[in-house]
Amino acid sequence: MNQYNKKFRFYLIACLAALSISSCYFMHSSSGGGEAKWKAPRQINPKDIAILKGYTIEPVASGLTFPTGITFDESGQAYVVESGYSYGEVFTTPRLLRLEAGGKTTTIAKGQNNGPWTSVFFYKGNFYVAEGGELEGGKILKITPDGKVSELVKGLPSLGDHHTNGAIVGEDGYIYFGQGTATNSAVVGEDNAKFGWLKRKPDFHDIPCRDITLTGENFESKNILSPASKEEVATGAFSSYGTPTKKGQVIKGKIPCSGSIMRIPLGGGSLELIAWGFRNPFGLAFSPQGQLFVTENAYDDRGSRPVWGAGDVLWAVEKDKWYGWPDYSAGDPLTNKDFTPPGEKELKFLIENHPASPPKPVAILGVHSSSNGFDFSRSSSFGFIGDAFIAQFGDQAPTVGKVLNPVGFKVVRVNIKTGDIEDFAVNNSKDNGPASILGSGGLERPVAVRFNPKGDALYVVDFGVLMMTKQGASPQMNTGVIWRITKGE
C-alpha cells in the first residue's frame, strides 16, 4: 500500500471517529435513568450490585417512602428520616424512624406538611433534622428520643427548587446546614412553574448573602402567571418573576440567604453565614481532620438561563468565601463557551462585582449525577481512611437536560488529596443506570451514606424509584431501601 493510500485510510478513520462522536449528541435522544416505564414491585437483590472486591452489600430495610438520611445514636442504633416530599409535588408525612431487627421500623416522630426532611443527625442525646420547607420555608428541628419536635430556626428561603439540607453538628457544638437556591441560575422562569412552586409563591426569588451589583441582564418569557395573556415579561436576576433589573442595580444581601452554608448554636439562636455562592449545597460532612466539606448539585440545562456541562462539585468549605453561583461553575466562569448550551447564545455574567475568584474544587463529579449525602471513612476496619464516599441520586433527565446515558445511581469514592473519583458500588449490568430500568434488584437512587459509629459499616440510603415522565418527576412510594456495606466477602 503506497503512502497516499495509508494517509487516506488514516484520515478516513479520523473522519469516521469524529463523525461518530459528534453525531452522538444530536442524533441520540435523551436516555436518562428515569426515562423508562417501570412496574411495581421493586425487586431487591444484592447480587445485582457490583461492589469493589473485598466488600459486601446487603439490604437491611425496605418498603420505605422517600428516605433521605440516616444517623446512629451512641449505642450504634440506626435511625432514618422519610422526607415527606418528593419532586413531582408528592407530599406525604415526614417521619423519623428507628430501624429494628429484621428490617422493621418504629416511628419516633412525625413532621408537619412542610417537607422534605433532607437529613438527620444524632448528637448528645437528640436528633437534628433539616426540614426542607417547600410550603412554609425551611427549618432546623430538634427531636428528642421520645419524639418531641421543636424548631430551632425557621423561615429559611426554601420555597423554590432547592431546600434546607444536610444539617450536621460540629465538634464546636454548632449546627451547620446548607440552604439551596430558589432557581437554577438566579432567574425565575417557566421551569420553576413546572417544579410547582411559582404559581404557589409568585413573588419568591433568590436572595444574595451580601450586597451585589447586577449587570442588568433580563430574560424574556411568556407570562406563565397569566397564560391567557399573550404578553411577554422580562425577569432579572435575584428578582421575582416579571421584574426586570437595570445595570448597576444593587440587590441588598441579607441572612438567611439562598445558596449558602449557615450555622446556628445547638440550642438555637442567631444565624451565622459561613460561606455562600453555592447552588444546592446538599451533603455536609467533617473530614477526620475536622475540615468541613460540601457536595453541590450544579446547574441544569433548563429555564430562562440554562447552563450546559456543569459537573457537581465536592468543595472544602472556607469561612466567608464565595463559591461562584450564579456566574461560575466549579471555579470556571459561565462565560466560558464550555457552558453554552448547544445552539444557544453564550452566557453573560449576572453580577457586576464578583466578591472574589471562587476557590478550586476538591473534585468535579458527573454532570446531572446529583451527588448528594456523603461521609468520610475513619477506620481501617473499612479502609480508605480519609476518602469521601458519595451517594449519587442520579440524573432527572430530560427535565435537567439531555444525557446520552444514565449518570449517577451509584456510590463513588473520592480521594480528596488527588480529586480522583472511582466507582465503589454500582449496578451489575451492561450499562449504568438504576435497577428500575435495568430490570434488576440493585441500587435505585442512593441519596445519602453514613458510616456507623464503629466505622466498620457504610449505610446507603436509597430513595427508591423516581421516574421521569412527560409531566415531570413521578416518585414511587414504598420503594426506599437501606443498604449496608461492610469489608469482607
Binding site: I13, I21, Y25, M27, G311, P342, I364, L404, I421
Partner: protein, 103 residues
C-alpha cells in the same frame, strides 16, 4: 458508518467494581488520571457515557487524532487549549486513556 455513529454512544463497564484499580504506578498514567478528573470526568464519568459518549470502549484510535479533538473540540465537545491542558499533561492524559481502554 451508521454502526460507528451509534456505537459511539454506548458504554463499557470497566470501573473498579468490575476490573479493579488501574495496575501499576506509572507516574504518567497517574498524572493523566488527575488531568482526566479535572477536565473530562464530568461528561465521561469514569470513562463511561454520561453527558458525553464513552471513552473506554473505543478500539485503536491514533493518539494524534485524540489530541486533535481535545485541542480543537468537536461538535458539542469543547476545546482544551494549552493553557488548560499543557502539552505534557496532554501526553499523560493519552497514556491514562490508553490504560483505561486496556482494562
Amino acid at each position: 458508518m451508521a454502526t460507528t455513529v451509534f456505537s459511539g454512544c454506548s458504554s463499557s463497564r470497566k470501573s473498579e467494581p468490575f476490573y479493579g484499580p488501574l495496575k501499576g504506578n506509572d507516574v504518567k498514567i497517574l498524572d493523566g488520571q488527575k488531568v482526566f478528573m479535572k477536565n473530562c470526568n464530568k461528561c465521561h464519568p469514569q470513562g463511561e457515557s454520561g453527558l458525553g459518549p464513552a471513552l473506554n470502549n473505543k478500539g485503536y484510535v491514533p493518539s494524534f487524532i485524540i489530541k486533535f479533538q481535545i485541542r480543537n473540540g468537536l461538535g458539542v465537545m469543547p476545546s482544551f487549549s494549552k493553557e488548560r491542558i499543557s502539552p505534557e499533561e496532554l501526553d499523560n492524559l493519552i497514556e491514562y486513556l490508553k490504560a483505561l481502554r486496556k482494562k
